[in-house]
Symmetry: C2
DNA sequence: TAAATATGCAACCATTTGGTTGCATGTCAA
DNA sequence: TTGACATGCAACCAAATGGTTGCATATTTA
């Protein structure tokens, strides 16, 4: 899960995920076209996404297709974000009460 | 939002959020007690969490209380993760179909 | 087969990051 | 008021990160 969080930390990688979300199965060159950096830099980002299991690749001759895998993101939403969301309103009202009480 | 993602990328900072989730309003020293690093290192992590608006502080005399702010996490869940979750099953079945079709 | 195309690998570099140590400041309490 | 305690600030350092360039390999296609 750490790998997923670290992978999501970079804006370029989130942009790559967005791009795949818009059009799934894009080739490396296709993805590079919209990124303002060298192909090798994009390759590295994709490798990180792949290692975090956020992207799955499929070799097709000399091309490599990239597919978005939303499962790890879903797991984060379920396991980690969910527990903070659950107490969202509670925590907010707690904070509000505290602030009102402590700073008259 | 970039600041939130980057803040969440570090395991120490997620641990700090967990700690505040378990017991809200902890002081810096209290938080340091469970972290295996110097107070100054923890201070830096808390500063990053504060800048990402994930933690709110309240000065209380010579102590500083830290409160979890779940709103940014909720925003991420809503605005960013939601759109990937929405197509989760679709994307999975798409991928499955493709793999079956392309690799007989 | 030869040229063009798509990707892979590795060395290298600047900046950021995560941590340290040392000292300063502010507040509580005896 | 003085000593202890909680926090703040700054310089410094090693390692990770994000990017580059150069060259190698594999697959089309003319």
């Amino acid at each position: 899960m750490d790998a997923v969080f670290r992978a999501l930390a970079d804006p370029t990688r989130r942009q790559l995920l967005d791009s795949l979300h818009a059009r799934n199965g894009q080739t490396l060159n296709a993805l590079c076209a919209e990124m303002d950096m060298t192909r090798q830099a994009v390759t590295k980002h994709l490798a990180i996404l792949e290692e975090a299991n956020l992207v799955t690749t499929l070799r097709k001759g000399r091309e490599k297709e990239h597919y978005l895998n939303p499962v790890p993101i879903n797991e984060i939403a379920e396991r980690w974000i969910g527990k903070f969301e659950r107490h969202r309103l509670d925590a907010l009202s707690d904070l509000k009460k505290r602030l009102e009480r402590e700073e008259p």
